[in-house]
């Protein structure tokens, strides 16, 4: 359904629609995703913004097909890549798409890389297995890739182990690895959270550049409102397993249409504003085992009224590419 907003005739590259995922634990069933839909086009950066437990990473893992089952179970929805539903294809086809169609980079590059193999071996292995390259070809291509992500002395460092790389270099190596099979969509799950600001800027630049060059679709998963503001074309805000607001970057920051987004923007300290009063959001994100009835945000929402406590708000479309799941979306967006 979100696909219809920007494109009508031709399919977007990757469309997630009405995704439902639950975690079956001994404490009960946690509905981690409750009908999540978004899409990403070639050359576009889609930012998924949310706090821990909002389901932003679970969505990414569902797209990649790397959820741990059990406890996670996909109970509904589809993930269409070039129109093909990845949730129903054979495991072989799924593996084929993984890496060459959709690739992913993680927050913690140190644990995402295997410590007992060299960086070069880990990248080259994929090239040999998936693209049938010879050892020599794979090595040459690996050095090219490390060069591409601007690892200095790539020809030498290709034989080093992950622990010999600094945090920023490891993240670069992981980006190189994810690019090895020329993916059309790259999912970056908190790619710079573990990095220092100066290195973060380098990595975001690199991602942006590579994306422009290859016209890759980029799904950027993060909690950092600053990073999103710098790179995102469109933004989906997630809360308690739902997308509560969807908008292009400028509109979302200028006139948020959901009280959660609004409160989030008011609650972060800004480098360029001194002494602004931070508005706090009361309470804590809900436990997914025990989501409040009605709108899941209502216990923390300053605008909560009667319908919020009882009725789950539906998506309200607010012009091209904008939507908000709030009973009072129009009021919020027009607050001035």
């Amino acid at each position: 359904m979100s696909a219809s907003m920007s494109r009508v005739d031709d399919q977007p590259l990757l469309v997630v629609s009405d995704l439902q995922v639950e975690f079956r634990t001994s404490d009960g069933v946690a509905k981690v995703l409750n009908g999540v839909s978004y899409h990403v086009d070639a050359g576009e950066t889609m930012a998924v913004l949310g706090e821990s437990g909002s389901g932003k990473s679970v969505t990414a893992q569902t797209i990649m097909g790397i959820l741990d089952t059990p406890p996670a179970h996909v109970t509904g929805g589809s993930v269409r890549f070039h129109g093909e539903d990845l949730l129903t294809v054979s495991p072989e086809r799924r593996r084929e798409v993984r890496g060459s169609g959709i690739a992913m980079i993680f927050q913690d590059a140190l644990s995402a890389l295997n410590p007992v193999f060299t960086i070069g071996f880990q990248i080259a292995e994929q090239l040999r297995l998936r693209q049938g390259m010879t050892r020599r070809e794979a090595r040459r291509r690996t050095i090219e890739l490390l060069d591409l992500v601007r690892i200095p002395h790539a020809a030498r460092r290709v034989d080093e182990y992950p622990h010999e790389f600094s945090g920023g270099m490891r993240q670069r190596a992981m980006i190189a690895m994810s690019l090895a099979l020329d993916p059309e969509v790259l999912i970056a799950d908190e790619p710079t959270t573990a990095l220092d600001v100066t290195v973060q800027a380098q990595i975001m630049d690199l991602l942006k550049e590579i994306q422009d060059e290859r016209q890759m679709g980029l799904i950027l998963i993060t909690h950092d409102l600053g990073v999103v503001a710098e790179v995102a074309d469109r933004i989906a805000v997630m809360y308690a397993g739902r997308i509560v607001e969807e908008a292009d970057a400028r509109s979302l920051y200028r006139r948020p249409a959901h009280p959660y987004t609004e409160a989030l923007l008011d609650s972060i300290p800004r480098l360029d504003l001194k002494g602004q009063q931070l508005r706090t959001i009361r309470g804590t994100p809900p436990s997914l085992l025990n989501v409040p009835p009605g709108c899941p945000f209502h216990p923390r929402c300053p605008r909560a009224a009667e319908p919020c406590r009882t009725t789950l708000p539906t998506r309200v479309a607010l012009g091209v590419g904008r939507a908000s799941a709030c009973h009072f979306a129009e009021e919020v967006v027009s607050r001035g």
Binding site: S52, T284, P285, P286, S287, L288, N290
Partner: protein
């Protein structure tokens, strides 16, 4: 990823806390653990079983009036009957009476050897893990030396050194010696487990916070490290208990442990080994009691471990 335990706000638990506060009592880990244990069926069943075994060990005459050492070869390996519920063994002695009288030696060896191993091992493990440095290096190397000794060989050396060949030490003395040799040879395992647990627990920020408050080493060890490091040692202890009862049998079989007329389950099991096919009841009954006892201790250990972990309660 998701934290299901977060933000619990069920009304029932809130009511319970309100009740506790009006009572005016502040609870702690141990009292909470005890309250939890008293309501746990696994704990009640295992504690009941262990109590029964202990009574059997202390007062065997309450359970049987038959002399366990009296053998009559005419009833050799007879099957269970009304006269002898568990049948007769190779010497024609009553198996039921022997199992009952065998409890004492087995349980005493098992429990004391486990207690000794865990006490020595955990104490040294905590000290090595907490203080580190040369103390850790020294103790770890000493532990390695003991660890390197083959168990049975080590026990043979210890027991033959303590008892001159041909001498017949009394049952109390021999049990003490067996317990001692087991504890002496197995404490390194408990020490390693405890040391590893302490080293990882010590890194936690709550230890740092306690030090910043000026807490003494004693307080950090007893309040912070011990409760958080007990679980793996408890698991090891429950497994070790069964193994140690078996070790006692091995030593008896080698003529170094208990000898007639003292009976133990281990001795009975090793006596039965040649007759498993023709008279399985010789093995079945002592082995069954041994299994039940070990199971009871394993259950007890699990229940205590869970009670001490607020997340599992």
């Amino acid at each position: 990823m998701t934290e299901p335990t977060d933000a619990i706000s069920s009304t029932t638990s809130r009511g319970a806390y309100a009740a506790a506060t009006t009572e005016g009592r502040q609870r702690g880990l141990w009292s909470d653990a005890w309250r939890n244990l008293r309501r746990q069926p696994t704990f009640l069943i295992s504690a009941g079983l262990i109590l029964l075994v202990l009574v059997m060990a202390a007062f065997p005459q309450l359970f049987t009036s038959v002399d366990p050492t009296y053998g009559d070869l005419s009833r050799q390996r007879q099957l269970p009957s009304v006269d002898a519920w568990f049948g007769y063994d190779n010497q024609g002695a009553d198996i039921y009476a022997r199992v009952i009288y065998g409890t004492r030696a087995s349980v005493v060896v098992g429990v004391l050897a486990t207690a000794g191993t865990v006490l020595i091992g955990s104490t040294l493990g905590i000290l090595a893990g907490y203080y580190g440095g040369w103390l850790d290096a020294l103790m770890s190397r000493v532990a390695d030396v003991f660890f390197g000794l083959p168990f049975v060989l080590g026990a043979i050396v210890i027991l033959t050194t303590l008892n001159a060949p041909g001498s017949t030490p009394g049952p109390v003395r021999i049990v003490a010696q067996v317990v001692l040799s087991i504890a002496l040879l197995s404490w390194p395992v408990a020490m390693r487990i405890m040391r590893a647990a302490v080293i990882s627990a010590k890194q936690n920020d709550y230890v740092k916070a306690a030090r910043a408050l000026g807490a003494s080493s004693r307080r950090i060890i007893f309040r912070h490290l011990l409760p958080n490091c007990l679980a793996p040692v408890l698991v090891y202890a429950t497994i070790a208990l069964g193994a140690f009862i078996g070790v006692e049998a091995t030593l008896s079989f080698l003529g170094l442990g208990l000898r007639s007329p003292v009976v133990s389950w281990g001795v009975m099991i090793s006596d039965a080994r040649d007759y498993v096919r023709i008279a399985p009841h010789l093995l079945l009954f002592p082995a069954g009691f041994l299994t039940m006892t070990v199971l009871a201790f394993v259950m007890l250990g699990d229940a205590v471990r869970e009670a001490l972990d607020p997340k599992l309660r």
